[in-house]
Symmetry: C2
Subunit: 336 residues, 2 copies
C-alpha cells in the first residue's frame, strides 16, 4: 500500500478528474483527497433533495474545485463535462433500495440509462478516459454463502440491484469492446463524515448516527441479528484511487469489505458505547422492507487485496468515533 500511495502522489498531480455525485458522501471525500494530491477536480451533482448531494460537503475546498450542478440524465451536460478529463469517478446513483421499488422507472433512468449514455459519451468524445464505477453488494441479493466473493451468483432482491448489475455490465462491456479503461468496485456499507443522515437512503448507519446524537433510541430493524460489514469512507477513497490508476484493475470487478463483521445489534451497542450513552430498540420490519432485506452479508475482499494491494485501515471503533465527532460538530448542515 505504501508504494501504491507514493505512486498516487505523482499520478494524480494535475490530472483532470470528473466525479459524478461529487457533492455526495463518497464523491466529496474523494474530491478532498484528490485536491490534496494536486488534481484538477470537477464535481457534477444534481442536488436532488432525496439524494446525497450537499454543498456543505465541500465548504472547506469550495474555491479549489469546479462545481457543475446538473443531472447524469442530461446527455448534453455530460458530453461537455466528460470531454478532456483523464479520469471519471462515476459515483452518481440512486441508492435507496426502497425507493427503487416505489419508483423503479427513476432508478432505471439513473442507474441504467444514464450509465449507458455516459459510456457512449466516453466512447465518442473521450475514449482514452479511465472510469471507476461505484457498484454495490446489492447485486448479489441474499447470499448463498459467506463471505461473498465476486463469483457469487447475482440474484438481486430489488430493482436497484438489477439496475446496478446492468450499470456495471455496461462498464465492463465498454472496456472489452471499445477499450475504455473501466473498473467496478462493489461497495458494502460505507460510513463516515459527509454521509446522508436524514434518513436511511444511503445506509441505515446514517440515520443511526443522527438518532444517537439526538438522544433518541437507535432503531434496529428486524431481530438485529443480521451480520454486516462496514467500510470507513477514507478506505473506500483509497480503493477508488487504486482502481483508477492500476492497469491491472481494467475490466475487473472488486468487492470492498472489512474483516470486522458485526450483527446490527452489536453495532448498535458499540455505537452506544463510543457515544458514552444511548440505547437501541428493535423495530419490526415493515412489509416492504422485509421483502427486500438480504439478511447476513459480508464480503470476501481477497481479490482487491491481492491484485491492487487494498485493505481497510480504519477500524470500526475509530471510524464510528470520527463519524460521531463530525456530526456533533456539523450537524446543522445535515439535519435538514
Amino acid at each position: 500500500m505504501t508504494s501504491n500511495l507514493n505512486t498516487e502522489n505523482d499520478f494524480f498531480r494535475k490530472r483532470k478528474i470528473l466525479i459524478t455525485g461529487g457533492l455526495g458522501f463518497i464523491g466529496s471525500n474523494l474530491a478532498g483527497r484528490l485536491l490534496d494530491l494536486g488534481a484538477k477536480v470537477t464535481l457534477v451533482d444534481s442536488l436532488i433533495p432525496e439524494y446525497g448531494g450537499n454543498l456543505f460537503n465541500i465548504h472547506d475546498v469550495r474555491d479549489r474545485v469546479q462545481v457543475n450542478i446538473s443531472d447524469v440524465r442530461d446527455p448534453y451536460a455530460m458530453r461537455h463535462l466528460v470531454e478532456g478529463q483523464d479520469i471519471l469517478f462515476n459515483l452518481a446513483g440512486q441508492t435507496s433500495h426502497l425507493d427503487s421499488m416505489r419508483a423503479p422507472d427513476v432508478d432505471l433512468e439513473i442507474n441504467c440509462k444514464s450509465q449507458l449514455s455516459i459510456l457512449e459519451t466516453c466512447r465518442h468524445v473521450n475514449p482514452g478516459i479511465r472510469v471507476v464505477f461505484a457498484g454495490t453488494r446489492q447485486v448479489y441479493g441474499k447470499p448463498k454463502y459467506l463471505p461473498v466473493d465476486e463469483v457469487h451468483p447475482l440474484h438481486p432482491v430489488d430493482v436497484n440491484g438489477i439496475n446496478k448489475i446492468a450499470g456495471e455490465m455496461y462498464h465492463l462491456l465498454y472496456s472489452t469492446i471499445y477499450g475504455i479503461r473501466c473498473c467496478v468496485l462493489r461497495l458494502t456499507n460505507t460510513y463516515g463524515p459527509r454521509m446522508r443522515v436524514k434518513d436511511a437512503r444511503q445506509t441505515f448507519l446514517g440515520i443511526w448516527l443522527r438518532q444517537i446524537i439526538e438522544g433518541r433510541p437507535i432503531q434496529v430493524f428486524g431481530d438485529g441479528a443480521q451480520r454486516r460489514d462496514f467500510n470507513y469512507v477514507d478506505d473506500v477513497v483509497d480503493a477508488l484511487l487504486l482502481a483508477s490508476f492500476s492497469d491491472r484493475a481494467v475490466g475487473n470487478v472488486y468487492n470492498l469489505g472489512s474483516p470486522e463483521v458485526l450483527s446490527l445489534k452489536d453495532l448498535a451497542l458499540l455505537l452506544v458505547e463510543i457515544n458514552g450513552g444511548g440505547r437501541y430498540e428493535l423495530v419490526p420490519f415493515g412489509d416492504e422492507l422485509k421483502k427486500i432485506d438480504i439478511g447476513d452479508y459480508y464480503s470476501d475482499f481477497h481479490k482487491i487485496e491481492l491484485e491492487l494491494g487494498w485493505r481497510p485501515k480504519v477500524g470500526l471503533r475509530e471510524g464510528l468515533k470520527r463519524s460521531l465527532d463530525y456530526y456533533r460538530r456539523c450537524k446543522t448542515a445535515y439535519w435538514e
Copy 2:
C-alpha cells in the same frame, strides 16, 4: 408431454391471452396455436420495419384475433391491453445484437424500460396475470463450458445481452416480491415459418433461407466451425404454452435447446442438401461482429425437460424442410 398437451387443451379454452410482439415470428406462430386451442387472443405489435412484425404472419387467422398496433414503450396503451388478460406472452423485444451496439439506448428502452413498465402495469391493474418472458441465450455470453445450463455465469458480450438480463431479472423479481406468476425461457436460435428473412436481425438462419432460395451462396461468417443448437418454432411454442400454465414454472428460468448440435458449416451443407442444390461461402467477420460473436454455444435443457416435460420434437432436417417450403411458397410476403 401427451398428458401435458391434453391439459393445455382444456387450460387455454376461452382464456384471454395477450402476446407482445404478436405479429412477429414466434408470436404469430403461438397465436395460431392458441386460437386452435380456443383461446381469445390479442396481439400487440409496433410493426417497426426493422423488427419482426409482419401482418402476413396472421393472414390466415386475421378474423379470429384482436390486433392492436402499438409499442410496448407506450405505457398507456399497455395499461389498457394488459387489463383483464389471463396470460401475457411477453415476446416483444429488440433482438439484433449488432443494432444493440449501434443504438444502445433504443435496446434499453425496449428490453429494459418497457419490461419494467409492463410489470408495473401488471402489478397495478392485473396482479393475477401469468407472464412468460422470452429471454435469450445471449445473456451467457461466450460459454465457459458446454452445454450451457441455467447456472452458467452471465457474461454478456453486447448491450442486448445486458438489457435482456435486466428484463428477465425484473420478471423474476416481480414474481418473488409481488406474486405475479412469471416464468422466463432462454431461447437459443429459433427458426421456421414466419421468421424475418430480410436480414440477420433475428437469426442468421433467416437470411440463409432467403439466400439459398434466391440461388445465392449462403454467407457463413468466420470459419464456419462455430457449433450451435436450433429449435423449430413449433417446439418453442410448446415450451411457451407449458411455461404459461405450469405452477412449477413460476419464478423459474429455463433454457430451451436441442440435442442436435451442428457447426455452421455443417448446417449450411444440410440446407444445401435439403434444398437440392446451392452452396455456401465463408465470409470474414467484420470488426463489429467479431467483437460480439460468442463462438460455440449449445444449451443444456435438462431442467425444462425434468420440470415441465418439454423436449423438442421436430428434427433439424424436417424443420429446415418445412421452412424452405414455406418461404418458397410465401416469399413475396417476406422479401421486402
